[in-house]
Amino acid sequence: MITNPIGVIALSKREIVRFMAVSSQTILPPLVSSALFMYIFGVAIGNRIAFEATGFSYLGFLVPGLMTMHLISSAYENTSSSLFIARWHNHIQEVLLAPLSYFEMVLGLLAGGIARGVMVCAGVYGISFFFSPMGVVHPFLLSYFIINIAVIFSCAGMMGALWAEDFGMLNLWNVYVIIPLVFMGGVFHPMTMLPPLIQTISKFNPMFYLVNGIRYSVIGVTDAPLLSCVVLSLILALGFFFLTVYLFKRGYKLRT
């Protein structure tokens, strides 16, 4: 399926070099905000939350949520900004003229989103050691969820970048759809804390399963059935990936 591996590696490398060159804007901010979240909500406020019944501290519950939240936003922001700027300056032509299949183009662009998401996610986990060191209960499962979530939101970022006509439109999906769904997906709270009606509605929020997939992998606790988390994340990753490849193939807002 990959006939131009050097081309894919070159594109992947360019995407990774791009965000690493401005790491103070791409890597550092989510780590700083995570540290603040952990200190204020996990330590200062969290110690006053009656959480003992779950067998974990509130900070232990919060860390996997923060890992997921920043994984999602980093993956999305990376591909959306990279592809949108490439469209804006029209240097996307460098890629469109190359002998890369549409599958390979998406794969190359995806690499930046995945790399940035994984780095930020690992960084958030690393920062948690300053507050309360904790191990990972299911490391392989954690890798599975991290990769799937990074693929989903890197592809969503590409779709957002193709759809957007200006910088304002670029952030609409992130601000009005992704962030609210992530917050309501259980990053900061267990579902049992919510009224029954909201609990029922939350079951239709895909972020609920993604957050809980990561939480189960890290601390071994989940509000959602694990199988649902495993299957849904895979289906979404494959679905978003092939939809993005289809949009590239169609030339949606890429070719006149």
Binding site: I6, I9, A10, L11, H91, E94, A98, P99, T256
Partner: protein, 252 residues
């Protein structure tokens, strides 16, 4: 099949570098290309002329895969640009009109990444990038970004980028527009040298003397239709190219 320097498969028996049949392209309800058919031979130096908005850049965009089209067929050295696009794109180098460079990359990085997309390993790509930068007198600017370049330098960088993968056909969309005389002569000389070495050149220009001096065959497009095409002598028929051009595009 014989690989070129960078492993590009080429059918040596194919005599047509570009073959376009019954190409029709609309922008909304506007018919930009109307049943366009023509061929460019392997090793030819082809001038593709026409007034502004005639369909020159649209034709180039279709050939290179930057534009979709409604009907027709386009082949590059026998490879269909829709169904065999990865093969056809390996053979084409495009020097576009606009300066569309990645603003985050230096000149050298820009060329090396571009070569990478074409499957060229970094070591070879770096050597090739330096050769081109040297040839086009951009070596001093090697580690700068394109914003630090003058307009003429950017033109040269566009040509370097188009040539980085040693394409079999080089398509140039008004490469000397806005260039000073020195740069214009330098580009002309280099294009002629490339053509002598066997590269097919597809050139659009508004400078009639440029087309007349450099090209072996000439095609004129007007309102999305080919109105004159043939070898230079056949098209000119003892007239100047300017006179022929004005004659065939006189209908407004």
């Amino acid at each position: 099949m014989k690989p070129t320097d960078f492993g590009i498969p080429m059918d040596k028996t194919t005599k047509k570098a570009v073959s376009i049949q019954n190409l029709t392209k609309y922008y909304g309800s506007f018919k930009a290309l109307d049943d366009v058919s023509f061929e460019v031979g392997r090793g030819d130096f082809f001038a593709f002329l026409g007034p502004n908005g005639a369909g020159k850049t649209t034709t180039i965009n279709v050939i290179t895969g930057l534009s979709n089209y409604q009907s027709g067929q386009v082949n590059i050295f026998g490879y269909n640009t829709t169904t065999q696009y990865t093969q056809s794109r390996r053979l084409v180098g495009l020097c576009a009109q606009e300066f569309n460079f990645d603003p985050f990359l230096t000149l050298h990085q820009l060329l090396v990444y571009q070569a990478g997309y074409f499957g060229i390993v970094p070591k070879t790509a770096s050597k090739r990038a330096d050769e081109l930068l040297e040839r086009f007198q951009l070596m001093e600017k090697r580690n700068l970004r394109h914003r630090a370049l003058s307009g003429g330098m950017r033109k040269r960088l566009l040509i370097c980028r188009a040539l980085i993968h040693d394409p079999a056909i080089l398509i140039l969309d008004e490469p000397t527009a806005g260039c000073d005389l020195e740069l214009k002569y330098m580009v002309w000389e280099y294009l002629q040298q490339l053509n002598r070495e066997g590269k097919t050149i597809f050139l659009t220009t508004h400078y009639m003397e440029e087309a007349e001096k450099l090209c072996k065959t000439i095609g004129i497009i007007h309102k999305g239709r080919i109105v004159r095409i043939g070898d230079k002598k056949e098209v000119l028929q003892d007239k100047t190219l300017e006179a022929v051009f004005l004659e065939v595009t006189a209908s407004g």
